[in-house]
Amino acid sequence: MFERMTLSLAALLLSFPVHAEPDLSGIWMLAGRVTESDVQLTDAALRIQAEYDLLSDDPSLYCEPASTSRVWANPNVRIAFDQAPDRVEISYEFYDLRRDIPLGVPAEISGSPSTKNVAGTYFSKMGSSVAWYEGDHLLIETRNHSPGYIRTSRGIPQSENTVTTEKLWIEDGDLRLTLTYVDKTLFAAPFVLEHRFEKLKSTELPLYNCTDADYDWFEKLNAPATGESP
């Protein structure tokens, strides 16, 4: 009898795929280029894009993350995960950001920003997030963004209506991320970005200390100068 029950239990277990929460521990760095789907901007988004001036509107000029996408896509910087039973903390070397995300369901997303830097400044352009596990994937949903730019080089915007879903998993030892932006006011179809990160041997996440990212100090030096750019 016991043997038959054991066999039945084994058969039951074998009939379902075995998933485990992904172990994202370690230090990661972007590898290769971020690939993106065709971006289908609405008229409202096109107007924002047309008004965007990279030289003055890029939040990076103030050491401020322009969006979640901008932070994930920065090359040559490290990213670390801390997976606790009730939350996930993602630490980005870029701008020394710490993203504290509780585990829960999307309905539980708070109104407070999830991201601050090590000095304690919160960044609403990174939105408010909640995370959960689905099989061997970690999913993060983020809402309540303040307006920012998903792609600062081209002025692709985000708004307070933007909802992002980040899907993270391990594949062949690499960390994979699919980042999906949904916002009917800005995009006619979801805007999807794919990333791959390689695990580093290093265990350290050094401080970035973003300093003087703007050009005000420099432009003051040439203030008396007139004429066209050479």
Partner: protein, 399 residues
């Protein structure tokens, strides 16, 4: 005075740009500016050099010469230490969309020397790898565990570093006297060999005479390996096309057994590591050369000889046949073509060990590869190559 030179180029690579927004912040136009360094700013998100250019009329213009993030530069081994406040430089780079800015490509100092971040990075990386090789060579020579060479790079680059490794080991292990290869037989293969085969150098200091004795402590994880080798007779082999032409470039079969010592850290060993570590080649034993001729009959002999390893009691430990293992002339051709990719040619007198003929015995107890050889002699006999007594080479073990 025309201080700013602007040249439109059809193509300028931007792959070196560390910060992806950089692509948007700079055009593809190349410009130059001369001036005196006012500040060197080694910081995130942009390191930069501020220079002051004074025009003929006394008007001063500040230029910001930007480069990558401090973090990126540091990780590439680039410093800005050579850029001294007060020195005059000419900077060349990509014209910025912001007035009087550029993305640095090259700085020329007053004495004509240059600073190129990409070259600095390459030099720093090379220096780091060279230091790693020095440590690996020292570990190998002193019977310490070598760390694997954990660098992603094409095979030809790994072989370039193998050349460097051999240069580092040359004072201790002597001149290049030949090549060895492996991975051409139908056996299961090694995960740390490239799929098409691997080669390494044989150095004069590795050569041992027929019958020389080794001690178990002479190696760390060394093992006894029955091999087969040729000697190059003529440089014509480098141009040979047919098997007979290749055979004509060889003048002897060398009875050959070796004791490799691939003592790498098992957690870090890799294909590139195995190449760069010269396959852990430590000792090569050579018997009396067997002269050969470039005839179909000799090709037949070479492809069909048999062999056996015998101990000091004349007990056959293991035997085998070349037929079905690898084709010797095909492997010679592979070595020749492989070293040609590195710009090398085979030279008369060089040995070409074609690799294991299927018989290996561990020397050390507890090896994961199998039990330790208990006999005191590892005598390799080749049958069918000579008309009389078999060709032979012997390794004695002094316990």
């Amino acid at each position: 005075m025309k201080t700013i030179l602007m040249t439109l180029l059809a193509f300028v690579t931007t792959t070196s740009m560390a910060h992806h927004a950089t692509v948007a912040n700079f055009t593809r136009d190349i410009i130059s500016a001369e001036g005196v360094i006012e500040q060197v700013r080694f910081q995130n998100p942009h390191a930069s050099v501020l220079i002051k250019h004074t025009e003929d009329d006394g008007n001063e213009i500040y230029w910001l010469i930007e480069t990558g993030a401090r973090t990126t530069l540091e990780r590439k081994g680039i410093t800005l230490d050579r850029l001294k406040v007060g020195s005059t430089i000419k900077a060349t780079g990509l014209k910025g969309r912001r007035q009087f800015t550029m993305y640095l490509q090259e700085i020329v100092f007053e004495d004509g020397t240059t600073f190129t971040p990409e070259q600095e990075a390459a030099d720093a990386e090379d220096a780091a790898i060279r230091a790693e090789l020095v440590a690996m060579a020292d570990d190998f020579i002193n019977l310490r565990m070598m760390q694997g060479f954990d660098h992603d790079m094409p095979l030809d680059e790994a072989y370039r570093w193998q050349d460097e490794m051999v240069e580092i080991m040359r004072p201790e292990l002597g001149e290049v006297v030949g090549y060895k290869t492996g991975g051409h037989d139908p056996g299961p293969g090694f995960a740390t060999f490239p799929p098409d085969g691997i080669r390494a150098y044989i150095l004069s200091g590795m050569l041992r005479k027929d019958g020389d004795a080794i001690k178990v402590a002479d190696t760390k994880v060394g093992f006894l390996e029955a091999d087969f080798a040729f000697r190059v007779g003529s440089a014509s082999i480098n141009e040979a096309k047919t098997d007979l032409e290749i055979l004509a470039g060889l003048d002897a079969i060398i009875p050959f057994a070796e004791v490799p010592d691939p003592y790498y850290d098992p957690d870090t060993r890799s294909i590139n590591g195995t190449i760069v570590a010269n396959m852990g080649t430590r000792m090569s034993f050579t018997g009396t050369p067997v002269p050969i001729r470039a005839t179909p009959e000799w090709l037949e002999r070479i492809n069909n000889f048999t062999f056996a390893v015998i101990d000091e009691h004349d007990t056959v430990i293991q035997s085998g046949q070349m037929n079905g293992w690898y084709e010797p002339i095909t492997v010679v051709r592979w070595i020749r073509d492989q070293i040609a990719e590195s710009g090398k040619e085979l030279l008369p007198g060089q040995l070409l060990s074609l690799g294991n003929v299927g018989i290996l015995r561990q020397i050390h107890e507890g090896s994961p590869r199998g039990p330790a050889y208990q006999s005191d002699q590892f005598r390799l006999e080749y049958y069918g190559l000579t008309d009389g007594e078999p060709a032979t080479v012997t390794i004695n073990i002094d316990r």
